[in-house]
Amino acid sequence: MNEQNQHLAGVRFWGLLRPIESDLENYSRRMVFDRRDCEDALQNAVLRAFRAFDRYHDSASFRAWMFKILTNEIFAINRKRGRVAEFEVAVEPEEMEEFAGIDFAAETPISWETLADALDEELLAALQKLNNAERAVLLMRAIGDLRYREISECLAIPLGSVMGNLSRARQKMRDAILRARKQSWL
């Protein structure tokens, strides 16, 4: 690649990156829970992506591509720190129809007006208690706005596992909200 093309690639890379910087930072912060490690993960991921940018294809979502690279860096840092021995993924049914069988109507409805500021503390505690797969899937969906298929490709897990982990993660976060509500009544 000549120097002119390198300049153009650089301009394009930073132009694509800038709109998703806050999402990447929020994702990293909530996956790592340590400021320095979060920054290291972001820096390593951006460097890796920048060097591999000539292999990025327009047909793929740049957002999903960056989340995949960042997730790999986060898992590497977590492994190095001994926080997580391995990436736990429960075996899930592959078909979407299986997921559709979850009875949402049976879940307790939430009255939002009664919730106090203690909610964020409960949510943070619940987020920390999620396993690695549940947390990654939840954050990729909620922060990254990635589609199920993109999350499946990022984490190299079946689509059914994405939906199962997402469902469990949401239920645990919902439970945290309910706990906070009960506390606010006490």
Partner: protein, 254 residues
């Protein structure tokens, strides 16, 4: 579609993972079943609350500048020489981002994002300040009124640089351009009777939510009814800041 089937689809529908046929059938069912509509709305509120918690926090500028400096130390010098290309690339990327996020965001938020983006990139400028000029009022075609241009937040942090007439999805709107501190913020005001052009937003506002919020691209969006108008604010500000700004909006005569 029956209740049980619709409820089974709640997550896929809210995550925009449902195919067009089933989405349409779910929407039809929700229009006729208040109980299911309430359940979907509760789940949506859970998503909103969780999303607000998880997305809380802006990019740390110092950190990203450090990363950029370490990776491409001479980039800033080169970009100066290539600024026309950078501008073109940014516009192409902005258009791509708008396209990719269009299907997952509130319809009105998508529609007004382009207005605000044009303001931020200095493609759009105010046409007037003060009373609406007669030649502009003549373009209302009976679908807008001068009063739409008289809304302003009572927030001292908001300063307006003027207004202009715009069309969003064919709807004439008052576009009031301003800044909140240093950040560009657009206010879009139009008649409530035009809300049929934005059915998602209409449903949300008429369901009892005092404020409808959404994110479109990098901008946050909030809308509410004030008298016979729909008033929206758009900007690259945290959602709570925009909500407070919107709550502080008053009519000049009010």
């Amino acid at each position: 579609m029956k209740c049980a089937e619709a409820r089974n689809f709640v997550r896929l529908y809210l995550d925009s993972e449902l195919d067009a046929k089933n989405s349409f059938e779910v929407e039809q069912h929700l229009e006729s079943c208040a109980e299911c509509a309430g359940l979907f709305e509760a789940e949506k509120k859970f998503d909103d609350r969780l999303g607000r918690f998880l997305r809380h926090g802006q990019a740390t500028r110092a950190l990203w500048e450090k990363i950029e400096t370490q990776i491409a130390p001479s980039r800033s010098h080169r970009v100066k020489a290539l600024w026309p290309l950078a501008l073109a690339a940014t516009l192409v990327i902005a258009a791509s981002v708008i396209f990719l996020t269009r299907s997952r965001t509130l319809d009105l938020a998508n529609a007004v994002e382009e207005c605000h983006s044009a303001y931020v990139h200095q493609i759009t400028a105010p046409e007037f300040s003060g009373p609406v000029p007669e030649k502009i009022a003549q373009q209302f075609g009976g679908r807008l009124d001068a009063g739409a241009f008289a809304y302003r937040p009572s927030e001292p942090a908001f300063t307006s640089s003027g207004a202009r007439l715009c069309h969003v999805e064919g709807v004439p709107v008052a576009l009031i351009l301003g800044r909140c501190a240093e950040t560009p913020v657009s206010m879009i005001v139009f008649r409530k009777s035009e809300l049929d052009h934005f059915p998602q937003t209409k449903r949300k506002l008429e369901s009892g939510d005092p404020i409808a919020c959404s994110r479109s691209g990098r901008y946050q969006f909030a809308a509410r009814f004030i008298d016979d108008h729909v008033v929206c604010v758009v900007g690259d500000e945290p959602r709570p800041v925009l909500e407070d700004l919107l709550r502080a909006v008053r009519h000049a005569d009010g």
